[in-house]
Symmetry: C2
Subunit: 372 residues, 2 copies
């Protein structure tokens, strides 16, 4: 019998509401299998931690995260802790990523169910069949390079810096994830090698690492500007794995995430190494951080109408990537699909407000639990 | 009687073909008005200049550009001068921008004609009425900051650096362009101030410059990641002027440019100061560079099927912004609209291959000249 410890960070705004539904799902999985135990522990993080402890990432929260098998987060931030404040929730998020060495951000963008195609801002014939996974380097580049406001505030700079080792390790994560598909996904590496020195290093190391260690994978290189075009004009061309550095990944993963229709539907994972998978026998768990991609949505917080699907699917990613529980992950995903699918294909067609429906957060959770 | 000297850089691939149609339009305007003379001089630039002179921006071309009233470019680059080459066409483009101090890149993204709505990858109800102008800082930031490949190629970095003066001057160009609309356009300033020091300087200087010098303009601040989302999910929210730094502008201007359906339709201007306009009485011409946003399209070069509209509309921007010939600019734009518009609204509905039609480059040019 195996026991796992999952730290839960509900956070701010709609965070606690969507987290409540995802933890129901995890509890159900724990209760319904004899040789598996998931222990869930909530901790303060983000704006609410600033209010209570004076900092977004209290020592106790960080320690719990470091000792956990995985972390499930809701969302952080809100108007109360705006840019004018010295201490802000996103500082906690950046510090947590760095402290746990979460260098690989994984963001799938595909349709959880065919019946959601009509919610895409793209024409259906363009959006149909989109199935991209953005893999973003998360603790290097402009986000953590040397920065300064100089000379009486007269100039300011940030540094986009990468080392060979940083590019190698994120390339390996991309390769491992590409290998979980059958046939393996192509890897589209995105940079600005026609202008930037760091991009030339990026391109060189990605090419060499894959050629040496994963020669079976198909690789192409894209420029970041034309990638931003392709995502809108012909996204299927980028199906597979999109591998890129931190700042480009921040922009492109958000751009891809609007294609499937609602931000409320999409999960994400931030990892400190390649995930558990059949192609990765040397997997050693190190705590990954799982969260929906949407924000804290202060405008609808407390109303009970937020879409919990992104958080529930994040819990599924947690089961798969950090705990190696592929079967359970698939069961959760299938249950979500059934709840979202139209009656015409045997589903319940449940829709929260972000998808123009009037199902509540709890109703969605109820139905997923029921189907499961 | 006024005489203007326009340097023409046909460049590579389809460049010479589309330029030929735009220069016909400029010659017609020159010939048909008694007190206006446009003198057009072609020079080598880009890949063809590498072949002939060993460098993409020969001394003679640079000198001619510096002495011109305006520059009209086709497009540069091609597989023959790929990333493996030491001397590449885009180096010429970056050097020309820097040498002429072209710090303001102006890229409108709107539908030249309502009848083009069906070519957008976005659903018509989302794309309809999109009318954005991206104003990108063009000779600062990551593109020109200190960069290095260090320590046996083990790390590499680029620097995103901005000074107060650089942000002030691009803000003033954005303000002048916002003022040409009636009512003045709102300005959406885009940065990553929640992470980057250079973005915090950017936000502060944009805010102070507009508050002091253009208090009548409406300003909001957007983060670059959520801007990348909005451009796809709700682009009308960004109607008006999108003001941003070089790297973000490279990505976002390309993203916006796929909304109007074909890259072949869109013009651009790169300026060394605020353009000529009624709100800018202190305008002193300094050579601006005008070019379509599409590339050299080697796959269709020489076939005579490229869309010349982007280049013809770039010539219209040249007339407006560098020569102050607003009336003539509008006449060209109206002629293009008439040629593109469906018969149902009194147009000719002429379409080149990029829009699924079979009109040739020359036929488009013929019709624009005829209407004009
Ligand atoms: C909140 C912010 C610092 C963060 C980032 O830029 O990484 C967010 O946009 C994200 O993508 O998770
Ligand atoms: C060719 C390249 C250097 C250039 C840039 O990145 O500025 C191009 O993408 C552009 O936007 O004009």
């Amino acid at each position: 019998s195996k026991s796992y410890r999952i730290v839960v960070l509900p956070g701010d705004g709609i965070g606690p509401e969507v987290i409540a539904q995802a933890t129901r799902v995890l509890h159900l999985i724990s209760d319904s299998s004899e040789n598996l135990k998931l222990v869930l522990d909530p901790y303060d993080f983000g704006g609410c931690a600033i209010d209570k402890h004076g900092e977004p990432l209290p020592e106790s929260t960080l320690k719990a995260c470091q000792e956990a098998d995985a972390i499930l987060m809701g969302s952080v931030g809100g108007p109360k802790w705006g840019p004018e404040r010295k201490v802000r929730p996103e500082q906690g998020l950046l510090a947590l990523r760095k402290a746990l060495g979460l260098y690989a951000n994984v963001r799938p963008a595909s349709f959880a169910s065919e019946s959601l195609l009509s919610y895409s801002p793209l024409r259906p014939e363009i959006a149909q069949g989109v199935n991209m996974i953005v893999i973003r380097e998360l603790i290097g580049g402009l986000y953590f390079g040397p920065r300064e406001e100089q000379g009486d505030g007269n100039t300011a700079f940030d540094t986009m810096i990468y080392s060979v080792a940083e590019v190698e390790r994120i390339t390996r994560v991309a390769a491992q994830i590409a290998l979980t598909a059958n046939p393996p996904s192509p890897i589209h590496s995105v940079d600005k090698a026609n202008v930037l020195a760091s991009s030339r290093l990026w391109r060189r190391v990605v090419t060499e690492t894959l050629r040496k260690e994963y020669p079976q994978l198909v690789l192409d290189h894209q420029l970041v500007d034309s990638t931003a075009m392709l995502i809108v004009s012909n996204p299927r061309k980028l199906n597979g794995v999109i591998l890129t550095e931190n700042m480009f990944g921040d922009i492109l993963s958000d751009e891809t995430s609007v294609i499937p229709g609602s931000l409320g539907l999409l999960p994400s994972a931030s990892l400190a190494g390649a995930p558990a998978s059949p192609s990765n026998p040397s997997f050693k768990p190190s705590p990954g951080l799982y969260e929906p991609i949407h924000g804290s949505a202060p405008d609808i917080a407390g109303k009970g109408i937020a879409n919990p699907v992104g958080t529930i699917l994040s819990a599924a990613m947690l089961l798969r990537y950090s705990l190696g529980l592929e079967k359970q992950a698939q069961a959760v995903e299938a249950a979500v699909r059934k709840v979202l699918d139209d009656e015409s294909v045997g589903g319940y067609g449940l829709r929260t407000a972000d998808l123009g429906g009037n199902a509540t957060t709890v109703e969605l959770g109820d139905k997923v639990v029921e189907v499961l």
